[in-house]
């Protein structure tokens, strides 16, 4: 028997870049760097596509480069019918149950790279592949290319993509599935059945060294009133319109309130004209400004129902601000209850009560945020999460140095 060298952990992601927004994209960058810093040989395997929002075609040259200190191998994108994908995506997000042949077209016209799959199959002996996130072609097909070497970092939400047969297949076939939170694991069990020897909650890592300066934010953006903060992509699937509607309603029922709503992040949401001066959409801001915004806010409001981890809650807590989340999102609600660091609402009336509670009492806000901070430091430091990943890899028999 020959002794073989140490194996490499390769993160397989549809696109990779230092500034691509998105939870999974950021998680991939941070997890790869954290594990590399702890001596694990790490690579990124991805396509030549630029990002989710751009056309899925060869933007970057193929081949090996080094980016943010990591070896990155890019492979050519398989041409696909993006119109077909977009049409089916709209139907899927509109709540339609796709027929099997439509689902097949949807999956086939997602982002793929045949060269990547050839590489995954040919080099499987020397790699462990960590596929992230679950809802793109590179994962749906890549996992099946080398299931015995596949870790799936699912980033699973309760959304239409989660109920595709392609998703169930990879949840069943991957050698191990890593989750950011127990609620995400519970969803996965509901979709694909329990698998205690393959499903692991590893958590999500957070950069715990961050801090914000509230005064700097107020001065730079001229926001001197108390405000609720929304941070992230503004989109119907993130439930941003609900927050805007609730805020609009709150302005009507509480005409003298000084409370504003500040939105930061990519894309946009429709804001009623009469709220022009009360809703501030700052767009994509520098990262320091984001931290400053957390620190200056009354609360971070995360109305999304589709969170597998929600790093913005963690960041807000680290910057001294509590969170308000939607009661129907199991993951974020679980964070609030487990940490005693945030409140949640199931409808508008509860939203009002929760906002009033927080507005009225700064000490209460500080106490909540303090609890949240302690929760992050206890569970979601990179030391902790990297150790969890190494533990999973160890159980699979990976030969890592």
């Amino acid at each position: 028997m020959t002794t073989r060298g140490p194996e490499t952990l390769a993160f397989v992601i549809p696109w990779f870049g230092p500034r691509i927004p998105g939870g999974a994209e950021a998680d991939c960058r941070d997890a790869a760097r954290a594990l590399a810093a702890r001596g694990v040989p790490v690579e990124i395997l991805t396509t030549c596509a630029r990002d989710h929002a751009s056309e899925w075609s060869d933007h970057h040259p193929e081949g090996l480069t080094e980016e943010i200190g990591l070896p990155v191998r890019r492979f050519k994108v398989r041409p696909g019918d993006r119109g077909c994908y977009a049409g089916l995506n709209e139907r899927l997000l509109g709540g339609e149950q796709l027929a099997s042949w439509d689902e097949r077209d949807f999956v086939a016209n997602s982002i793929h790279s045949d060269d990547l799959y050839t590489y995954l199959a040919a080099e499987r002996e020397r790699y462990w592949y960590a596929f992230i996130p679950y809802c793109f072609g590179t994962t749906w097909e890549g996992v099946l290319t080398a299931p015995d070497r596949a870790l799936l970092i699912a980033c699973l939400h309760d959304e239409p993509y989660a109920r595709l047969a392609a998703t169930e297949r990879i949840l069943r076939r991957a050698r191990a599935v890593c989750f950011h939170a127990p609620a995400e694991r519970a969803l996965s069990e509901a979709l694909a059945g329990p698998a205690p020897d393959r499903f692991f909650v590893v958590g999500g890592g957070v950069d715990t060294g961050i801090a914000g300066n509230p005064d700097r934010f107020r001065a730079k953006y001229g926001v001197h009133e108390p405000f609720l903060l929304y941070a992230g992509r503004k989109a119907p699937e993130k439930n941003t319109p609900l927050l805007v509607e609730y805020y609009a309603r709150y302005r009507v029922t509480h005409p003298t309130t000084p409370l504003k709503l500040v939105l930061i992040g990519s894309e946009s949401v429709r804001v009623p004209e009469r709220l022009g001066r009360d809703v501030l959409d700052l767009g994509f801001v520098p990262i320091e400004d984001k931290y400053d915004a957390y620190a200056a806010a009354v609360a971070l409001c995360q109305p999304s129902l589709l969170e597998s981890f929600s790093i913005v809650m963690m960041e807000a807590w680290l910057c001294g601000t509590p969170s308000i989340v939607h009661a129907a999102c199991a993951v974020t609600r679980e964070h609030c209850l487990a940490s005693n660091g945030g409140l949640f609402f199931a409808d508008y009336f509860e939203f009002v009560e929760v906002v009033e509670l927080l507005l009225a009492d700064a000490a209460f806000r500080r106490a909540l945020a303090g609890n949240g901070r302690a929760y992050v430091l206890a569970n979601y430091t990179w030391d902790r999460v990297a150790a969890n990943y190494l533990d999973v890899l160890g159980r699979l028999g990976a030969r890592l140095p």
Partner: protein
């Protein structure tokens, strides 16, 4: 963790406060309705347009009568009744003038509202019905498409069954043929015509046909000289040194190749026409029976024995004898090559094999290997040659984009079956068994 903050308890309190407020009428029914509806508008984006129309229309229907009697009230406790009386008096005084002014406005409002009432909702409903009917039609269309595919599927299944039946029939006929061949062989053995060597003289027996008949037969069925040269060229490398004996040299293609490659070679054939043709081409060929000829040769004198399309003309025992003789006459390192039709390819039996009256028995490649090994040859190799062109085989069916998964699965099975049939029906036409004397 701060002791005083317990989120679960706080949320209980929040829910309780909301419940109490709603029960006490803090939120009016109208307010609750609008708020609840607002949430619907957010979650069901498409519905927003319709409910908004209804809401505006309802509000207009409430407010059209601008001349209606207003409710006169006051929130002041002591002065209230006094103020109300004063307001009523004022109202009575001004009413005729205001009514005069408002009459035309009320008339305009009511007409406009009637127009809206007769127009907006029916148009909206028509739109809604139109959408519903479109949806229904789409469903019907999808059903029709489904049915058509089901029919195609059934048709394909039927054709597959027919094909299977035809193959079974073919297989039955084949085993019948095999039995007939066996019976003939047994009859032949009984007559003593194929007694064990050194006695037998085996030759293609064409009865009273003219001397050049087999030559003409070969010209028609064996393939052109150039084709045969092309095929046999691949064997040249196996015979680096002579002398090579070509047993059953036929038209002498391999001898020509040897001459061009400067390898010493000569040939024997029992057919006078073939021998004459070879000699005309300047090749060293004798008319001789292979067994007699080989027996005459000194032992360990040949570099190679080449024997293409011959052994199927021999009864099995003669084949064994030929191999043993060749082994005896080859020098160490010498090579015996026998090329023959491949019986593992069934199409051979509907064509190449039985087209030649002088063929006696097909020899299975593994039987040939066994015979060579038993005779003492080492490194025995079976090389499959002369494949059928792809276009002669059953062609795989391509999946179409609109096929369903089970139809694709069906296609995979069908193509799998095609591949298996191709392997049996159109395997390589011939094989060469090659043995080396250690």
């Amino acid at each position: 963790m701060s002791e005083s903050v317990e989120v679960a308890r706080i949320m209980e309190e929040v829910r309780e406060r909301v419940r109490q407020k709603r029960e006490s009428g803090f939120y009016s029914e109208e307010e609750v309705r609008r708020i609840t509806q607002m949430e619907l508008e957010v979650t069901e984006r498409a519905a927003g347009f319709h409910s908004e129309i209804e809401e505006h229309l309802a509000a207009l229907n409430d407010a059209w009568d601008t001349a209606a009697e207003p409710v006169i009230s006051s929130h002041r406790k002591l002065l209230g009744p006094l103020l109300i009386n004063a307001k009523r008096a004022l109202r009575r005084l001004t009413k005729p003038y205001i009514t005069l002014l408002l009459a035309r406005q009320v008339e305009f409002n009511s007409r406009l509202l009637r127009l809206l009432n007769t127009f907006v909702l029916p148009v909206r409903d028509e739109l809604r019905d139109g959408i519903a009917s479109l949806k229904r039609k789409t469903e019907e269309l999808s059903l029709a498409v489904h049915e058509r595919f089901s029919a195609a599927h059934a048709d394909a299944l039927r054709r597959n069954r027919e094909l299977s039946q035809r193959i079974e029939t073919l297989a039955g006929e084949l085993s019948g043929l095999r039995a007939a061949v066996d019976r003939l062989r047994v009859a032949g053995a009984g007559s003593g015509a194929t007694a064990l060597p050194p006695g037998p003289v085996v030759s293609p027996d064409l009865g009273s046909l003219p001397a050049d008949a087999y030559l003409r037969f070969e010209d028609r069925h064996r393939g052109s000289r150039e084709e045969i040269r092309q095929r046999q060229r691949t064997y040249l490398d196996l015979f680096p040194t002579g002398p090579v004996l070509d047993v059953g040299c036929g038209r002498g293609e391999f001898l020509e190749l040897c001459r061009e490659a400067k390898i010493e070679a000569r040939g024997i054939d029992t057919d006078a026409g073939m021998v004459a043709s070879c000699r005309q081409a300047g090749l060293e060929v004798e008319r001789a029976d292979a067994f007699a000829y080989l027996m005459e040769l000194p032992a360990v004198s040949l570099g190679g024995v080449f024997c293409a399309q011959v052994i199927e003309h021999l009864p099995p025992e003669a084949f064994v004898a030929l191999v043993r003789l060749a082994f005896a006459k080859l020098r160490p390192g010498g090579v015996l090559l026998c090329e023959t039709p491949n019986p593992a390819c069934l199409t051979v039996f509907s064509g190449a094999f039985y087209v030649d009256l002088t063929h006696i028995k097909p020899i299975h490649p593994e039987a040939a290997r066994f015979v060579l090994e038993a005779a003492g040859f080492g490194d025995v190799e079976v090389r499959y040659v002369n494949p059928y062109p792809m276009e002669m085989k059953l062609q795989p069916l391509e999946p179409l984009w609109y096929m369903r998964r089970y139809e694709e699965a069906f296609l995979t099975v069908l193509n799998d079956n095609f591949a298996r049939l191709n392997d049996i029906l159109w395997a390589a036409q011939d094989y060469a068994v090659i043995g080396r004397k250690a």
